[in-house]
């Protein structure tokens, strides 16, 4: 595999220019910390889910380029979406990582550029980290409301 197909410009840009860096305020903030123990990657995601959508998101990450880029891309994709839509994105992204087919590929936008990671099984957990995080964050919220 060529290094450029893994570390495309779009990935390097997402990793080095993270958005969603403004801390959230309010009382309804949900927080989650996920990490990859073998790499030392640590990701904190804060979100506000109300009116049936994710209204705001903030993240802070210590990690590699793949996990950083994936986090920024994830945040772009999930904001203003419902749990159902976000679950579908999480499932689609995990299928991208396992080389399985899924409908409407374009919905993953920039995150499609991470498809080469599927060829490097040891790095899949880096790309999956934020998706695991957002899933945990939202489902903990739902659990609370029940």
């Amino acid at each position: 595999m060529d290094i450029r197909s893994l570390y495309q410009d779009i990935i390097l840009d997402n990793a080095s220019h993270p958005q969603f860096q403004k801390r959230l305020s309010g009382t309804r903030i949900q927080k989650v910390l996920v990490n990859n123990p073998t790499c030392g990657d640590r990701l904190v995601i804060n979100g506000i889910y109300q009116h049936h959508k994710l209204e705001a998101i903030y993240f802070h990450i210590n990690g590699c380029i793949i996990s950083k880029a994936s986090t920024n891309m994830m945040a772009h994709l999930v904001i203003h979406h419902s749990i159902k839509q976000i679950d579908d994105l999480v499932l689609s992204f995990s299928k991208l990582m396992t080389n399985e087919d899924f409908a409407n590929k374009d919905k993953l936008g920039d995150a499609l550029s991470l498809s080469s990671v599927a060829k490097l099984p040891v790095r899949i957990k880096c790309a999956m980290l934020p998706w695991k995080g957002i899933y945990q964050l939202l489902h903990r919220e739902v659990h609370h409301e029940n």
Binding site: I3, Y7, G40, R42, G63, C126
Partner: protein
């Protein structure tokens, strides 16, 4: 030492694409070791210590000969000081669970160093928590060497166990195991040495540093996986409870009681890893033939070359002392995560470790989350180091200056 001739002994190194620089994780195996294991399964596969027929006795002799070989390798008094285990981790856990758990009490102290691998840390943490003892860490100095002044203050009459790695698997430093051993014994503590990285890289002489227990693994010293050693003095082993009961370790069994075989056989319940022991014996033969002094010198010099070249690059941080002590060189490239760097190297068939190397407290103490680690062995050469150095430059161009 003719490295190019040595490389021919290792089938896996015939793959010219590969630069294997992850020897602290596991070493490659010479044909001699692979053949010994093959030969065992093809011609010698009989159980040990139980059968009366001749070939089984020959296998038992071969197995016990390796016990003597291991004892000679570390200059132990007798073969009976050697117990075969699955590896360093099992050996250290045995000492913690079957010795320390019974002998460390509330208010006692266990002293380790901040350079420990998790295998020589978590078992002690558990003993300390379970028994209300205190776990104390000997720190390192700025250059990565153990802080001896701090050690002198930390090891006191309250100390019941001092557990120390002989060679750091991250910094490649050789800890002052003789001095710490003296401190431990002067204060009446038991001295446990983790020799996982030391056994493959430096001559080990227990008569010089007098550990009560010492652990190492076969697979890091050319032997197969799943075989390791627990060395213990007879005095220490007599105080250790039996970790497992069952076949082979007994003398007599009635419906109400049993008596056990003498040390060390009472510690080896069940059919042991016979092929592993045979393979370890062949590995020790190979190492002896080259000479541990030669191996130590060669790896240290090659690591010095690698570290010096890396240090010339202002984007690279090399951890540990300027004068390298073993074949291990941990480093980072500023602004680049170790995992991205390791993937870059992987795609060029250069294999190094990236992460915290099962020594998280130490890596945090170095002020980072992860490092790259090149660990060299006596079959590595300058050409492989040069490939690593030029790839580091290429990756700086790629990641840090656009591509």
């Amino acid at each position: 030492m003719n490295v190019e001739r040595i490389r021919k002994d290792f089938p896996i190194l015939q793959n010219r694409w590969m630069a294997y620089l992850d020897n602290a994780a596991t070493s490659q195996k010479p044909r001699l070791v692979i053949d010994a294991i093959n030969h065992f399964y093809q011609y010698q596969n009989f159980n040990v210590h139980r059968s009366v027929y001749t070939p089984a006795q020959q296998t038992t002799d071969a197995y016990e000969n390796v016990r003597q070989k291991v004892a000679d390798f570390i200059h132990a008094d007798r073969a009976q000081d050697i117990i075969f285990t699955r590896g360093t981790t099992e050996s250290l856990n045995m000492v913690a669970s079957d010795f320390a758990m019974q002998h460390v009490h509330h208010g006692d102290e266990i002293v380790v160093s901040i350079t420990e691998h998790h295998s020589n840390l978590l078992p002690w943490m558990r003993v300390a928590k379970a028994n209300g003892a205190k776990l104390k860490y000997i720190p390192i100095l700025d250059d990565g060497c153990l802080d001896l002044d701090a050690a002198k203050k930390l090891i006191t009459s309250k100390t019941k166990i001092v557990a120390l790695t002989a060679v750091s698997n991250v910094l490649g430093t050789i800890n002052p195991i003789e001095i710490i051993g003296k401190l431990a014994h002067q204060n009446g503590a038991m001295y446990v040495v983790d020799a996982a990285q030391a056994a493959p890289s430096i001559p080990l002489d227990v008569q010089k540093f007098h550990p009560d227990f010492m652990a190492f693994s076969g697979h890091k010293m050319l032997g197969p996986t799943g075989i390791g050693v627990l060395y213990g003095t007879q005095h220490a082993l007599k105080q250790m409870q039996l970790p497992e009961l069952g076949g082979e370790m007994i003398e007599d069994v009635s419906t109400t009681d049993f008596s056990t075989k003498p040390i060390p056989w009472c510690f080896e319940a069940g059919t042991p890893n016979i092929a592993g022991v045979i393979g370890l014996g062949a590995a020790i033969d190979y190492l002896n033939q080259i000479g541990m002094d030669q191996i130590e010198k060669y790896c240290r010099n090659l690591a010095q070359y690698l570290a010096d070249q890396l240090r010339k690059d202002k984007h690279v941080i090399v951890y540990g002392p300027k004068r390298r002590q073993s074949g291990i060189v941990s480093f980072n490239i500023r602004g680049l995560h170790a995992h991205d760097a390791a993937t870059f190297l992987d795609l060029q068939h250069i294999y190094v470790r990236a992460g915290h190397h099962c020594a998280e407290p130490l890596v945090h103490c170095l002020g980072t989350e992860a490092t790259l680690r090149a660990s060299l062995y006596f079959y590595n050469n300058r050409n492989e180091c040069d490939r690593l150095i030029s790839s580091v430059k290429k990756m700086e161009m790629f990641f840090c200056h656009g591509h």
